[in-house]
Symmetry: C2
Subunit: 207 residues, 2 copies
């Protein structure tokens, strides 16, 4: 099919879009045709944004999350509690926790999760940096906020072992029935955990 | 949500991808994170390809299809039959017809289809140019190869009216049961047309 493109520029653009995950050649073609109909200033900005993204984006030297500056906005916010570190897989998870407005500590972004299938071991992640940070002192609690998958549990366990000798409280997110979930359709492991870890009932408070 | 991005570059890139049709913010984020993991040379090429696409791509002065040169490869191919013009909606359709390897004439790309709902009238398309081309002479047949939609039929009819006084044969694609279609599930209009336009049976020949 590639030899029949009427334009090499068109073909190259379709190939680039088709190289993205979850985007096939038909969709890539549709996106490129859409760009051709868009204002040229907008399309130029699109192209330049992508180029700049990869060239200029950096990683925060403290939390290892994506940042525009050597130390990210969260890590440089002195009103936040630097004694509590929330360990997350990636920057999406930082944003997810931030959106809850329930956490005022700092983050530590692992940059992935231990996954032997994908060839990702502990040394590919920032676990060593986390240990250094805790050893340096001043941290009272490390919250493990990873996905409740086998890889997440493996990573939790590995980090727990690395930090267990140190003077720090290691916590993990509460597991239980999600808000809005119907009990009948909740899986038995989650439901079982939610019974074992039941709490004193209190009326919901706004705030 | 936008105020909580840890990086403006990241946010801008997500916004750009999310501006594409059929790509929501979650998908845009996933695509951007994918680009951040890719080799920086590749990502730079991606960005530059998009910028160049919109700036450098041009339209063939004869068929009005997308081209890298003022006259496209098909229109400048002297081995093709310049007396037959296949009228299509866009360059995807040129590629679709080319892929059949059954057509050795030239194309005329309308750049769309008459669609009052989308505010596209005859003057937004290259129908005038088609008429000029036919009036200039040397064209024996115009094949209307538009989609079998209401908009396609409207456009077919409009072009037919515009060209009907001129010395040219106007044809349209054969309508019928698609190859591989089960008769039971073929819509009755198509099936009806395929009976009205039935052909003498012949054994399929390899070619």
């Amino acid at each position: 099919m590639s030899s029949r493109f009427p334009s090499r520029l068109l073909e190259e653009a379709v190939n680039e879009f088709a190289s993205l995950p979850g985007i096939g050649r038909k969709t890539a073609f549709r996106l490129v045709m859409h760009l051709l109909r868009r204002d040229s200033v907008e399309v130029k900005r699109f192209g330049e944004t992508i180029t700049r993204l990869r060239e200029d984006v950096c990683y925060c030297s403290r939390c290892h999350g994506i940042s525009d500056t050597p130390v990210c906005d969260i890590c440089s916010d002195t009103t936040r509690d630097s004694s509590i570190i929330c360990v997350v897989e990636n920057v999406q998870d930082v944003m997810a926790v931030e959106n809850t407005r329930q956490f005022r500590g700092l983050y530590h972004v692992l940059g992935g999760i231990i996954s032997p299938v994908d060839g990702i071991g502990p040394s590919d992640l920032t676990i060593g940096k986390l240990e250094e940070k805790v050893r340096a002192g001043g941290i009272s609690e490390v919250i493990l906020a990873l996905s409740t998958t086998m890889e997440g549990d493996t990573t939790n366990f590995y980090i727990y072992k690395r930090l267990s000798g140190l003077d720090v409280r290691i916590t993990t997110l509460a597991r239980g029935v999600a808000i809005g979930d119907v009990l009948e359709y909740t899986d038995e492991v989650t439901l079982g955990q939610s019974i074992v870890n039941r709490r004193i009932f209190s009326l919901p408070s706004q705030g």
